[in-house]
Symmetry: C2
Subunit: 334 residues, 2 copies
């Protein structure tokens, strides 16, 4: 049996109130008793029962995190940042991997509700009405990371997807490329899909390359799909000398495909990715990419949620963080 405050009190020969005070307001109890109590706590390895405290404080000091795919390195970075922030702010973290499954996501929200998490961070997925309704129905405060909502008033932290995509494509154009394709996210279950093609289109138009606007294929988050999409892209448009991939994993899939077709990267085709995963500097060739501040995104999301929890609102609703172009080996002048 775990020791309770009662056991400590008995051992130290004081009342339970005194023990409680030793832990929460030490200077209101006289030195002699205080040290006796502390010895007893030490001896019994007493740790106050979080259930009992939760009942009083109505807080669990636990945050929930909903992520679509734990095997995606992008989210590993987000988790890391978020966890560090949680340590700083005194929260524990409960991470749930939804696999982008509605059923499962909803059931995790129930779990969060039952476990009384103080708030949740919802990562990267689109905030379907069901999710929103359930979250507010359960009165759980939440913020979005790498996502946002046009329908609802929800706090969010992300990168400027349109601008980032624009920068990527502009970089390719300034390298002298004229025939540029794109591998994008399927629009129907992605938040960043549309703005990234918007950026692609804007850059093309600005430089008079409208003819490329159609040269887009879509894939669904994973390498294999991007490989397939590249196949379609290059079958339809063999003239391409550069491709903008909206994820580093897509860039790897594209490069793999090109490699299998004996097309050199960056010799014949330049590829630029998006995210700057830890793996991207390890790939061969090392990926040129738009770096997201992944760790900071996670960190900031936790801070924002904390702000929401403590003040009841948030200073800036839709927050954007800076992206950065990282030039490595997968791109070259035309």
């Amino acid at each position: 049996m775990k020791p309770t405050i009662r056991d400590v009190a008995k051992m130290a020969g004081v009342s339970i109130s005194t023990v409680s005070r030793v832990m929460n307001a030490p200077d209101t109890v006289v030195e002699s008793k205080r040290s006796r109590v502390m010895e007893a706590i030490e001896a019994l390895k007493y740790q106050p029962n979080a259930f009992a405290r939760g009942l009083i404080y109505k807080k669990s000091f636990t945050l929930g995190l909903l992520i679509p795919d734990i095997e995606n390195l992008y989210f590993a970075g987000v988790i890391r940042g978020m966890q560090d922030a949680c340590i700083k702010l005194g929260y524990s973290l409960m991470i749930c991997n939804t696999d982008r499954d509605k059923e499962r996501t909803l059931s995790y929200i129930d779990t969060f509700h039952e476990k009384q998490v103080d708030g949740v961070v919802f990562a990267s997925d689109v905030l379907y009405p069901e999710y929103y309704e359930k979250l507010v129905g359960c009165r759980i405060p939440f913020v979005l990371v790498s996502s946002h909502s046009d329908e609802y008033e929800v706090a969010s932290v992300e990168v400027d997807d349109e601008k980032a995509a624009y920068d990527a494509v502009k970089f390719l154009i300034e390298l002298g490329h004229q025939e540029i394709g794109m591998i994008g996210f399927n629009h129907d279950n992605s938040v960043s899909g549309p703005p990234r093609v918007a950026g692609f289109v804007r850059a093309l138009k600005e430089f008079g390359l409208e003819r490329n606007v159609e040269k887009v294929k879509y894939a669904n988050h994973r390498f294999e799909q991007a490989y397939q999409a590249s196949h379609e892209l290059f079958s339809d448009y063999p003239e391409l000398t550069a491709v903008f991939c909206v994820a580093d994993e897509f860039a790897m899939g594209t490069i793999s495909y090109l490699k299998d077709r004996n097309i050199l990267v960056p010799g014949q085709v330049s590829v630029i990715g998006f995210d700057n995963l830890r793996m991207s500097g390890m790939f061969i060739p090392k990926l040129t990419t738009i770096a997201q501040p992944i760790y900071q995104l996670g960190y900031r999301a936790a801070e924002k949620l904390h702000e929401l929890l403590t003040t009841g609102s948030v200073a800036v609703m839709k927050e954007k963080m800076e992206h950065k172009l990282v030039v490595r080996e997968s791109s070259r002048e035309k």
Copy 2:
């Protein structure tokens, strides 16, 4: 304010006991009241308070997971397996990333204690006496995954590292390689380090290649270090035609290094990895590797912990799971 059982009772015009019964033993309450209660629950979106229940059941139905590095794809797989098992078994999961930091690990154990997790699985790191003492001091049941303990009697699930390493090296030898090196884990903070060199050595001796036994360099879990270790390895032993890397990430580091030195893989040097990460099939060249059943390891660990929690002990203490050789593109006949 979140609704309590009292609110439901009032709304349905019954006592709180009846409401409780509707949720826990529905057939002991007469249909008419039951449906009134259920309507009230629905209307208020009532969810029983986990703190109050925890106080009674003395269980949180939450498991803790301590992992060394969330940005390592190996652990992403373990987490996935473990989380799926948790869903099946009715647990929530609290994941903590230790960065292999003692201080931090110990403090997470405190958190687990305070939050009253029912048990924890401890992944891949060595079970230092401090950890062991603290865990048993806090009376937290735990199991090890991808790790084991010689000092203590602790349940564990892992792969047979010695045998797996032996198989990897034997494969290289049977391909005709005679000059074989190895990139291993530093021994001082790794569980699988020593058995994997043991397997390396056994295979070499069995085939009369003892002269290679010294050709080992060590790295510390990450790509960059493996890159550096490869540099040392090939500077000391330029005659090598094959290298056994104890992690796919090391294999990637080694291949990167060789690429930078214009040494072809597998043309001039064969490289075999270990783990079979999701990324390994995406690398160029695709990695030949010893596949660990990563997902199953995580899944099994959760089941084992559950067994420990429910029966008080575990049928088989030190459990081994099967590894498998996966031949892809990074290896070739000599």
